[in-house]
């Protein structure tokens, strides 16, 4: 039942903190400005600045931890973009992947790891998680993932509810998951802003924050918003109401963006202009309309996804991924054509009406249509076995007559979620220059018999099954039964 609640809320978070652009000074909301001198457009030499919204007021403080140059030899390497190298080698150094191939040159001081009989993959990326927002233990006091006080709460940010001491993060790391996208829940039409984190243990959320990853806004289709608010006799109470709510909000966001665009254009030209009044909700949506914030839309049914696609064209934005999409296989062609990813479970179904038509071939059917299929968890237990979820989907797809390799299927676990989160230029595949987010598995990761043996995040070894000292223990678990146990 817990997962139903989680799926229930979508929060769109909108970030908007205005600061003065050139001076870097304080909050500038609503103050009138003259032209910035650097605009260089002529007559006015008044030394004032253009009011701008700070896109990153809670910046990442994450710095990769030190790591030794590391060479893994003799392993089966799945590069995350469809390639497989038998008996291959990979070199990690200074936080980056340096080289991957049959043989690679390594410095003399590199730590050499015998990978024979083992597999190397990119770190798994979970595009849909609520860890930190629904932390363990799952008591009401830890319920921080749904701002269920109104159907449009694009102004809230998942990161402001993330408890970095959530022990669930440590389980995910130990399972080979190196990056997670934390989304608000799905109670709301616009649930708030999502954030991308590394599974690095930290005292603060900022210490986990994936540097320069764009924010997302979480939206939700269907049963959850209409149930939560319809049950209170307030809108939305139907799927019709859901769309009315989305569209009215996008219309407001469009107007808000126009005000800011007009203001900025005038101010930059040195014309007299007043900055619009700040609205945190619309800041986030303006970020979407400006292409700076991705849209992650919880939507189960095929017909609703098609409606959302039309809406995105109506208001001029792009859906990055549909989440849960239990019926994605019914419109796999449409999703591929529109270049929208589908973040899916391998086999969840039937727990709610809009999930009744789930099939085990959903992920491989989306893949086979040329689409961007993603295995996601939405669950602190499922996140520990995303590789196994991929295996089940792959087996089902191939039994249905598809011919998808394990190397291809690994895209569902790293490169495709990285694309949906717009971090694929930094991680998600074993390419030279990318972050050294790497997992050594003690066997074929498509088997339930295998486990992550070593996990590197930005080249730092942060989990080692062979070393109990590299088994993170959250503050909450200190002094409790099972502290430091192999989990």
């Amino acid at each position: 039942m817990k997962h139903i609640l989680l799926c229930m809320s979508a929060l769109l978070a909108l970030s908007a903190c205005a600061t003065t652009g050139s001076s870097g000074g304080g909050q500038g909301s609503g103050s009138s400005t003259g032209a910035a001198s650097k605009a260089g457009n002529g007559a006015s030499l008044t030394k004032t600045s253009v009011v701008r919204i700070d896109p990153n007021p809670y910046p990442s403080t994450y710095q990769p931890y030190p790591g030794a140059p590391t060479l893994i030899r003799g392993a089966t390497i799945l590069d995350g973009k469809g390639g497989q190298i038998e008996n291959g080698e990979i070199l990690l150094r200074d936080g980056k992947i340096v080289a991957v191939g049959q043989t690679v040159e390594a410095p003399g001081d590199a730590v050499v790891i015998d990978g024979r009989g083992k597999f190397v993959t990119p770190g798994v990326i979970d595009a849909h998680s609520h860890m930190g927002n629904y932390a363990a233990p799952g008591v009401q006091a830890h319920s921080d993932g749904n701002e269920v006080t109104g159907p449009v709460t694009a102004e809230v940010w998942a990161e402001h509810g993330v408890w970095p001491q959530d022990p669930q993060f440590t389980r995910a790391l130990a399972a080979g998951v190196t990056t997670v996208h934390i989304l608000p829940g799905s109670a709301n039409l616009f649930g708030g802003r999502g954030v991308t984190l590394k599974t690095v243990p930290s005292r603060t959320m900022q210490g986990m924050k994936f540097p320069d990853a764009p924010y997302s806004v979480k939206m939700a289709c269907g049963e959850n918003p209409k149930r939560v608010y319809g049950g209170r006799n307030q809108p939305p109470g139907s799927r019709m109401g859901n769309f009315a709510g989305y569209r009215q909000t996008w219309a407001r966001a469009t107007e808000y963006k126009r005000e800011w665009d007009d203001y900025t254009a005038k101010a930059e030209k040195g014309e007299k202009a007043s900055a619009p009044k700040r609205d945190l909700e619309l800041d986030t949506l303006m970020g979407v309309l400006n292409g700076e914030i991705t849209v992650q839309h919880h939507c189960y049914r095929a017909d609703e996804m098609a409606n959302v696609i039309d809406m995105s064209k109506e208001f001029g934005y792009k859906v990055s991924a549909f989440h849960h999409g239990v019926e994605a296989y019914k419109i796999a062609d449409l999703l591929a054509k529109e270049n929208i990813c589908a973040a899916l479970w391998a086999d969840w179904w039937g727990f709610k009406m809009e999930g009744y038509d789930g099939i085990k071939e959903n992920i491989p059917f989306v893949h086979a249509a040329g689409g961007c299929a993603i295995v996601h968890s939405d669950d602190p237990n499922g996140v520990q076995r995303l590789n196994q979820e991929a295996a089940k989907a792959l087996g089902a797809g191939n039994r249905a007559g598809l011919n998808i390799s394990k190397a291809e299927a690994w895209k569902w676990l790293s490169l495709n979620p990285a694309k949906a989160l717009k971090i694929d230029d930094k991680t998600g595949s074993l390419d030279a220059g990318k972050m050294a987010d790497v997992v050594l598995w003690n066997g074929d990761p498509f088997s339930a018999y295998s486990r992550a043996e070593k996990v590197w995040v930005d080249g730092a070894l942060l989990f080692d099954a062979n070393n109990p000292k590299l088994r993170p223990v959250a503050d909450f678990e200190l002094g409790q039964p099972g502290e430091g146990d192999a989990k």
């Binding site: 363990a136 039937g350 498509f446 088997s447 099972g482 192999a486």
Partner: protein, 434 residues
């Protein structure tokens, strides 16, 4: 004996709707579960619903239909020790969901066998993944008593319940405390008092206590507790915390005939020796490894292996993980125990023991191991042929026999799959494709 005969009859009648058939499964690697060593190139013969022969040098009877299992693996049908299969069409559609009676005037007397729908989609979805038997349990709504659960098979039949009223369900941990009125002592008071009253139903006083809560039992409920009291029917008690497990074990000092089965037991490894000494079996979620409640702080995937090593009978169930729709995943739960055994510092199970946790152990725990749980002559013909290792997530059954009858590997899900396979421009809407 009368009971055993009745069960046997139910096993037969409720499944073998078609004519009797003799089926010989030949050439496979046969895991009997009765013996940890597999039989290579083995033969399993099933006739009239029962297994009649298992071995390497077994002749195929004349007229038998032969299933070629060369290169494949053969096992008993899987038996999920805790589910709600057949009780809900859609979990969140309340009118389709018979798991929890939230507003009933009755509790212990509630009998899930009235609700089990043999045509519910999850039954076919479950059977084609090799799970042929399941414990079906109600969940408590207002009282610590959830009611009487049933054992079902997954055959394509009009009646799938082969053992109704197989156990009583009771919650005594955090959730039980909530149901009992707000604390664990309140839950124990309700449970203990009801059992005491059940000792002599005729003298019980069925009056409201005067508080806000309704009377917590009535004649029907007390009568339903009598077989629990005298040990004729086991009681499944849901507790997680080590301290709670010890309290439950202690209940036998007051009620010596209770046949206790502990459900949950996330911290069972901390009191494994006491569980073993008390000969109390457990049904657990083998994947539970998060401190997701205060009663599960000690959760670890080593739990199953540690308890089994101490001598506890361990079976696996799907509780709190969509037990109405995902009973099929119990194979993955078992497979992960094999993986856990390979983790440094981890304790899991051998392949054979993990298989036992989803075949023979549930059958033993619920007293039906005379008929189920292994591939041995005389047992009911639940046999699954697998394309490979049944714990390999990429493999699947190629043949499923339930009580000697082979079922079609078809479900509403496979029909949706086939309709949408190779989606492209159609000459007619897909509605015409089935």
């Amino acid at each position: 004996m009368k009971r055993a005969a009745a069960i046997a009859l139910a096993l037969m009648c409720s499944t073998v709707a078609a004519r009797a058939e003799t089926i010989a499964i030949v050439g496979g690697t046969v895991h009997t579960v009765a013996n940890p060593q597999p039989i290579e190139n083995g033969t399993v013969v099933v006739r009239d619903g029962r297994i009649v022969a298992v071995g390497q040098n077994v002749a195929v009877p004349a007229g038998a239909r032969v299933i070629d299992a060369a290169g494949k693996q053969v096992t008993p049908g899987m038996f999920n020790a805790f589910t709600a299969v057949g009780l809900a069409d859609v979990g969140a559609v309340r009118e389709s969901n018979d798991i929890t009676a939230r507003n009933a005037d009755y509790a212990a007397s509630l009998d899930v066998s009235y609700a089990v729908n043999p045509k519910a989609v999850p039954i076919a979805v479950t059977r084609i993944d090799g799970v042929t038997r399941a414990v079906v349990s109600p969940q408590p709504g207002q009282s610590v008593f959830g009611g009487q659960g049933a054992l079902i098979h997954m055959g394509d039949a009009n009646d799938v319940v082969f053992k109704p009223r197989a156990f009583q369900f009771v919650a005594l941990g955090e959730y039980g405390g909530e149901l009992g009125g707000g604390t664990r002592p309140a839950a124990y008071a309700e449970f203990i008092n009801a059992l005491k009253e059940a000792r002599n139903v005729s003298k019980a006083q069925f009056v409201a206590t005067g508080g806000q809560r309704a009377p917590i039992y009535n004649r029907a409920d007390l009568e339903a507790l009598q077989p629990v009291l005298n040990g004729q029917t086991p009681v499944v008690i849901w507790v997680e915390r080590a301290a709670d497990i010890r309290q439950v074990l202690g209940l036998r000092s007051q009620f010596p005939q209770l046949r206790i089965i502990i459900l949950g037991a996330s911290e069972g490894w901390m009191v494994a020796n006491e569980l073993a000494a008390a000969r109390v079996p457990v049904i657990i979620n083998s994947l539970q490894n998060q401190p997701d409640t205060f009663e599960r702080l000690g959760s670890t995937m080593n739990n199953a292996g540690r308890m089994a090593a101490a001598g506890v009978t361990v079976a696996l169930g799907t509780m709190a993980r969509d037990e109405s729709h995902q009973a099929r995943l119990v194979l993955q739960d078992a497979a992960n125990l094999v993986g856990q055994a390979r983790v440094p510092g981890g304790t899991g199970m051998s392949w054979a023991d993990a298989l036992k946790a989803i075949t023979l152990n549930p059958a033993k725990i619920f007293g039906v191991d005379k008929d189920l749980g292994t591939l041995e002559p005389g047992k009911v013909g639940d046999v699954v042929v697998w394309s490979g290792d049944p714990f390999d997530l990429m493999q699947a059954p190629t043949n499923v026999l339930i009580a000697g009858k082979e079922v079609k590997l078809e479900s509403r899900q496979t029909k949706l799959r086939d309709r949408y396979l190779g989606l492209q421009g159609e000459s007619l809407p897909l509605h015409y494709r089935y």
